[in-house]
């Protein structure tokens, strides 16, 4: 039944809300208010720039933290707390369960991000009314951040299927950072004249999810337009990689004995 992942997703969202995850928005709001008030004093002529930089970076970082820390517990917690026992005795496939958990966290992230985007728009309006058309680019940047978060969540979920939260966090963050640096690593490999290293870094580049693809914060802050092709390609990239990770996670989880 196709509504089963949806039921799991909604319940995962409900759990996050009751765990007071969304309270991070208060912190975000305070930060943006503070920034909006202070930015005029500190930096002249670049109010918009600073607010957009700060807002988008915060959305990205908050989202990342949430994706990793909740993501690594998505499956692990259920196994440890044994809440899965009665759940998996229901007529729901393990893969449907996984999909539902993933969708639930993604929904939480999307809701959280939406509120933050509103906060950013409000701060931007405050420092630089009226809003200009180029400010709509913020939405593009936020969308790409969400793609990034979708990938990170899939990574965290994957590890959650078989390793403890501590290790999963390390692996996920490790891959994330590698993915951010992937381009530089490849460049480094090319600079050395060692064919083995060159080959290895090249392989790494194509293997690891290239998170640097999604970062348009600087461009949007300076008002550059983002080509639609970039957005489309990144969407497909993220979708494919997520599908890959979820498939692997499902394969592992479906064969796993619950303790």
């Amino acid at each position: 039944m196709s509504s089963m992942p949806a039921a799991v997703a909604l319940n995962t969202f409900r759990e996050a809300v009751r765990d007071r995850v969304l309270y991070n928005l208060i912190f975000f709001a305070l930060m943006m208010i503070g920034a909006a008030i202070l930015v005029g004093q500190i930096s002249i002529g670049i109010n918009r720039l600073v607010i957009i930089n700060l807002g988008l970076s915060a959305i990205s970082i908050f989202g990342l933290v949430m994706a990793v820390f909740i993501g690594v517990g998505l499956v692990y917690k259920e196994i440890e707390k044994r809440t899965l026992y009665s759940l998996l005795a229901q007529p729901i496939r393990r893969s449907e369960f996984l999909l539902g958990k993933y969708a639930g966290l993604l929904l939480t992230l999307a809701v959280n991000t939406s509120f933050m985007t509103l906060g950013l728009a409000a701060a931007l309006f405050y420092v630089g009314r009226p809003l200009v058309r180029s400010d709509a680019l913020i939405l593009v940047a936020v969308y790409l951040i969400l793609l990034q978060l979708a990938l990170v969540t899939a990574l965290a979920l994957f590890f959650s299927c078989f390793s403890s939260p501590l290790l999963s966090t390390l692996f996920t963050l490790g891959i994330y950072i590698t993915g951010v640096f992937a381009r530089d690593i490849r460049t480094l490999g090319e600079l050395t004249h060692n064919p083995a290293l060159k080959g290895a870094t090249q392989v790494l580049y194509y293997l690891v999810p290239n998170f640097h693809n999604f970062n348009v914060i600087a461009a949007v802050a300076h008002g550059d337009s983002i080509p639609a092709a970039l957005v489309a390609q990144n969407t497909v990239y993220a979708a494919l990689y997520v599908a890959l990770l979820l498939t692997c996670a499902s394969a592992i989880f479906s064969r796993r004995d619950l303790k």
């Binding site: 089963m4 039921a7 409900r14 899965l84 009665s86 007529p91």
Partner: protein
């Protein structure tokens, strides 16, 4: 020959033990068993015998090393089979941030009920397990007994035909245990099959149609409780009181046990009337005279203590 409710054939589970060079520990050894429809089947054994392992295998939480099993004709690997089963885990662990109603509603969605149906079933079940007032309290505030009732509710919510209960009576006070027994009997009346594990033998004795005894992963015996236990009456037990705190007659005092004012003595059937006469002579007040029947417990302890493979007292019935 009708399809059995549960058909287990050679089901085996090995676990790796140890970190560096894991060895395999066999926690279930070639279990073969049939449970017919409408039976209340008791699965007995000491802790660690493999009862929970069996239940987890049947409900798809773990996967068999060898062998297979079917529930109502569908293999345990088929997810559709789950529509027809209900499961109460050994320790009910539920999402503690949900209320009882929310949990039941959540689970009910997996069986595809409409909102109206869900609402109706949940109310009915909460009433039945005695949690009607506690429906909107978060589960983290529930006592163990209340959680057990929620567990039973979610196990029968979707009217499954086969219900697996792992230690359903544990953690309940005598009133609760009676209620659970009544629920199980009620389920049988509706024609459902109940398969439950327990180590409280008196409960099994009371309601089971048949029982199986498991020890160290191996099946030691299957059959009806009455058949397993032979009904030979070996002795009679007399319960009596000495008037005014007088001492017991010397030749009885050796074999009688005394707790407070009550005395108990077991005598061979042949000496019953003689002993009664002696008690009458010292003006003891007779409270009861009853046969000493070996219980399931005795059989059980004998099996376990003996550690031998004992063939079933009765052959498994075919119908």
């Amino acid at each position: 020959m009708t399809t059995p409710a549960i058909d287990i054939a050679g089901l085996t589970k090995d676990y790796p033990v140890g970190f560096w060079r894991p060895r395999m520990r066999r926690s279930l050894d070639h279990l073969t068993l049939r449970v017919e429809e409408g039976e209340i089947f008791g699965f007995l054994g000491p802790n660690g015998a493999g009862k929970t392992t069996t239940l987890k295998l049947l409900t798809g939480l773990i996967f068999p090393t060898l062998g297979m099993a079917q529930v109502r004709g569908r293999p345990i690997s088929d997810i559709r089979m789950h529509r027809e089963i209900g499961y109460l885990p050994e320790q009910p662990y539920f999402y503690d941030y949900l209320t009882a109603r929310e949990l039941l509603d959540y689970y009910a969605r997996f069986s595809g009920f409409s909102r109206a149906e869900r609402r109706e079933r949940i109310e009915r079940l909460l009433e039945r397990v005695g949690l009607a007032e506690a429906g909107d309290i978060q589960l983290r505030k529930f006592s163990k007994g209340m959680l057990q009732r929620v567990g039973i509710a979610q196990a029968v919510l979707h009217d499954p035909l086969v219900i697996f209960l792992d230690e359903p009576m544990s953690g309940l006070d005598p009133v609760g245990r009676r209620e659970v027994r009544d629920i199980i009997l009620g389920l049988k009346q509706q024609g459902r099959t109940v398969f439950f594990s327990t180590h409280i033998l008196s409960d099994a004795e009371m309601i089971c149609d048949r029982v199986a005894v498991l020890h160290q992963g191996k099946l030691l015996g299957v059959g009806a409780p009455s058949e397993i236990v032979s009904i030979e009456i070996h002795a009679m037990e007399i319960l009596f009181e000495m008037r005014d705190g007088r001492p017991l007659p010397p030749h009885l005092a050796a074999t009688a046990t005394r707790t407070g004012g009550r005395c108990r003595i077991a005598v061979p059937e042949g000496s019953l009337y003689e002993t009664l006469g002696q008690l009458q002579a010292c003006q003891a007040r007779i409270l009861s005279v009853a046969p000493v029947r070996p219980t399931l417990e005795d059989y059980f302890l004998r099996l376990i203590g003996g550690g031998e493979q004992v063939s079933p007292a009765v052959e498994v019935r075919h119908s």
